[in-house]
């Protein structure tokens, strides 16, 4: 059997990047949450914020490690699997990746060291500052990588010379037409996803009557964040969709399962898109509603898949279903946010088991929606790798299918172990809880830094808790 290197390379990239995106999505949101907790602690002096910040920092550490290592893989995979694409687009999006490394990766990686290991050594302000810098770093990283991705969706500010893209206008390249929407959509998704995880953890503790004070704080913060960001996502997503309709109409038509340009777009609630017959089977649709959403006008028409030739048709069914999963979860999260707010207002947020029980299981929802969303935008771009300029099959490396298949198997094996164990350990950290310092550092670990000595030093110097017992930064060490 001949192995198809294009298909294998696509599967490999889809696998490694889907695995990767889980962790940055979580750490973008979580680093911001931790930074807010630290600032609240410094500002209010309430110990529960510090406890929560320490607790989530441990979970952050495990997630961040998985994000870093799977991200390094990606920075090389452009070359190993997509060398012709790398050469075609290197002049234009190479520098965006380069700026990501210089402005974000070093910032995150360097101050992560202080954020994770500085609690018992450095003054609180330095640790707090580090958490803020790490949070900023993750957002800057999202800025550049989404700019590069958006350029592949909506290329701008370039010219083609000798078969290779050359830059003409850097502002137009960085702020290409789809970038502002994609950036807002993704960063908001990261905050929303993280808020759902925080909600689930808080709900889980409350149901077990553990860590009640901390859990109530988590629940309040999470419900507020979910209500705001889930509703905001509705508007951002709508704007992003309109932008896509303008620049990539085939993608929107696939998302909606819209085959006929002459018909006002219907909102297809269910259906099975069939590329052979160019229609939906088992369709259940609300007439005109799709057109209303996309053109903001009753009976509005927009281009259907009949405008797309067969060899430029994206995989319609995948895009169609992935879009419904994403939107379905988004709507469910709006309901969660509003229900939570209502309960909070009525003073029943911490008792309502009917709310807490499903909430405690809701943690994967945001991740599923993010991956579904990326499936929509990436598969909706097919068969193009750089939209309108370079087809996916023309972007791959001169590498035999067997090499790609073999390494794909290795990726599945290694990532499978890492992912399963990572989830298991995060779950263990959550079980140990915010006050489970001892549980999180099981007996036999000779790595607790001098806790007893610290307590003594704190008493001796009269330094307030949290100011850090270690040699104060700036003073020479004894």
């Amino acid at each position: 059997m001949e192995l198809d290197p294009v298909l294998l390379a696509r599967i490999q990239f889809a696998f490694t990047i889907s695995f990767h995106i889980i962790f940055p999505a979580f750490t973008i949101g979580l680093s911001a949450f931790i930074a807010v907790l630290m600032l609240l602690w410094r500002w209010s002096g309430q110990e529960k914020f510090r406890t929560l910040a320490r607790f989530w920092t441990k979970i952050f550490a495990v997630s961040f490690a998985m994000g870093v290592v799977s991200g390094i893989v990606l920075s090389y995979q452009f070359g190993t699997n997509w060398s012709r694409f790398s050469e075609f687009s290197g002049n234009v999006i190479g520098p965006l990746i380069g700026y990501e490394v210089l402005t974000a990766f070093y910032l995150e990686a360097t101050f992560l060291g202080i954020m994770l290991f500085g609690w018992n050594r450095f003054p609180a302000w330095l640790v707090t500052l580090s958490t803020v810098l790490v949070a900023i770093g993750t957002a800057i990283s999202a800025f550049w990588i989404l700019s590069a991705n958006s350029w592949m969706q909506t290329p701008a500010g370039y010219e083609i010379k000798d078969g290779v893209a050359h830059p003409l206008d850097w502002m137009a390249i960085v702020f290409n037409p789809s970038f502002p929407y994609r950036f807002a959509h993704m960063v908001n998704a990261a905050y929303l996803t993280t808020a759902v995880v925080v909600l689930a953890v808080g709900a889980r503790y409350l149901l077990a009557s553990r860590h009640v004070e901390e859990s109530r704080t988590m629940l309040r913060m999470a419900v507020g964040m979910i209500a705001i960001s889930a509703i905001a996502q509705l508007f951002i997503g709508d704007a992003h969709g309109l932008n896509t309709l303008e620049h990539q109409p085939a993608k929107v038509a696939a998302m909606e399962g819209h085959w006929d340009s002459d018909e006002p777009g219907a909102l297809v609630l269910f259906g099975i898109p069939d590329e052979a017959s160019r229609s939906n089977r088992l369709e259940l649709a609300v007439p005109n509603l799709g057109g209303l959403i996309l053109t903001h006008e009753w009976g509005g028409k927009y281009p259907g898949l009949d405008t797309v030739p067969d060899d430029e048709l994206p995989p319609v069914a995948n895009v169609f279903f992935a879009f419904r999963i994403m939107v379905g979860i988004g709507l469910a999260l709006i309901a969660v946010g509003l229900a939570g707010l209502l309960l909070w207002w009525r003073g029943k947020l911490f008792e309502a088991r009917w709310f807490l029980l499903p909430a405690s299981w809701a943690w994967p929802l945001g991740f599923v929606a993010i991956i579904a969303g990326w499936f929509v935008t990436e598969q909706g771009r097919q068969p193009w790798l750089v939209y309108g300029l370079l087809k996916t099959m023309d972007g791959i490396s001169p590498v035999p299918g067997a090499s790609v298949a073999g390494t794909l198997a290795l990726f599945v094996f290694v990532y499978g172990i890492v992912f399963a164990m990572g989830i298991y350990y995060i779950n263990r950290l959550i079980n140990a809880g915010p006050k489970g310092e001892a549980a999180a550092a099981p007996a036999g670990v000779p790595s607790r830094p001098l806790s007893a000595a610290e307590e003594a030093a704190r008493e001796a110097t009269g330094r307030p808790r949290g100011e850090g017992p270690g040699p104060s930064f700036g003073k020479p060490e004894g």
Binding site: A61, V69, S75, E87, N91, S447
Partner: protein, 334 residues
């Protein structure tokens, strides 16, 4: 095209690679040394001594690879497919050892798996980095600015030898780092390990220095042609002197100097490789100028780099400084 832009970029990427080799070299070395001590407390100390730094260290690898794509897209597009299997194997090794930094602590007391993953990942990553280097030195088949060889072209006795040499070299960096940063049994263990590693590294450097000119005409001319030989003879002499001094410092109980000696050895070896191959990025066909990105792209990234790289170096130095000094026995950051 301005001829000097690619030269500046070659210098910058060369610097990033050198930073990577030294910085991640010592923390990969910690993983390579892991199997040679069975005591959990020593392994804890070893891992803790690099825990705050490894992530920043590895970022130089991203800058090296990413920078190659930015400044020399054609070289990136040739080298990555040419070394497809070792590059991906190296990345998977880095994945396993990277997550071990966190997983090993959380898994305790059931952390055996992550001891193995940390050591195995480090050894695989170091070995494959060496084979990629060896494969580059022996040359890459290029036609029409694309890789034109098979998936296993890189696999030769020479590249395997360079792989082993890099494993020994990183282990030496790791051992001398431990001599500097730790005390007690861990430091004793590291000091014992460093001497034979130093001998192995010096021998490997000698072998590579003789093997490459014998195997590659171009390299022989570079070193032994006149007038080059008049300028270049101090390089091997300096390496020998550094090796001798490092040996002495290890024996006389010095703490920081052996690590400095190991770094200088690495830089001299690196300088030797640069001398052998300049101006080729993909020996023996593609030079800096052949593979350079559009000048507008090189300039755009250079403008930012001029400001950002000193900043990066500044806070990297800051973090090394705040975590400076010997670790107390049993001290950790977790």
């Amino acid at each position: 095209m301005e001829w000097y832009l690619p030269v500046i970029w070659a210098g910058l990427i060369g610097t990033a690679v050198a930073m990577y080799v030294i910085l991640d070299g010592f923390d990969l070395g910690i993983g390579i040394l892991f199997p040679f001590t069975r005591k959990e407390a020593e392994r804890d100390t070893m891992m803790n001594s690099v825990a705050p730094f490894w992530d920043g260290n590895e970022t130089w690898l991203v800058l090296g690879g990413g920078g190659l794509w930015v400044a020399f897209p054609t070289a990136y597009a040739v080298i990555m497919p040419a070394f497809y299997l070792p590059v991906i194997g190296m990345l998977l090794g880095l994945v396993l050892r990277g997550v071990s930094f966190e997983f090993r602590w959380v898994a305790k007391p059931g952390h055996r798996l992550w001891d193995v993953a940390f050591a195995g990942g480090s050894i695989v990553a170091a070995f494959l980095q060496g084979t990629i280097l060896g494969g580059l030195l022996q040359g890459v088949a290029v036609e029409n600015r694309q890789y034109a060889g098979g998936p296993l072209d890189w696999l030769t006795p020479f590249s395997l030898f360079v792989g082993l040499a890099v494993v020994a070299g990183y282990a030496l960096l790791g051992a001398t780092w431990l001599v500097m940063r730790t005390s007690g049994p861990t430091a004793d263990f590291a000091r014992r390990a460093a001497s034979p590693l130093l001998v192995a590294v010096l021998a490997a450097m000698a072998v590579v220095s003789l093997w490459t000119p014998v195997a590659v005409e171009r390299i022989a001319e570079r070193w032994f042609g006149t007038p080059n030989i008049y300028f270049l003879w101090p390089v091997p002499l300096l390496a020998a002197l550094t090796g001798f001094a490092t040996w002495h410092w290890l024996r006389s109980g010095r703490h920081g100097l052996p690590f400095a000696g190991a770094i200088v050895l690495f830089l001299l070896g690196y300088a030797g490789l640069v001398i052998s191959n300049v101006p080729y990025l993909v020996p023996p066909t593609l030079t800096f100028w052949d593979t350079a990105a559009a000048p507008a792209s090189q300039v755009f990234f250079l403008v930012g780099t001029v400001f950002l790289l000193p900043l990066v170096l500044g806070y990297t130095a800051f973090v090394y400084w705040v975590f400076r000094g010997k670790m107390a026995e049993g001290e950790g950051y977790h």
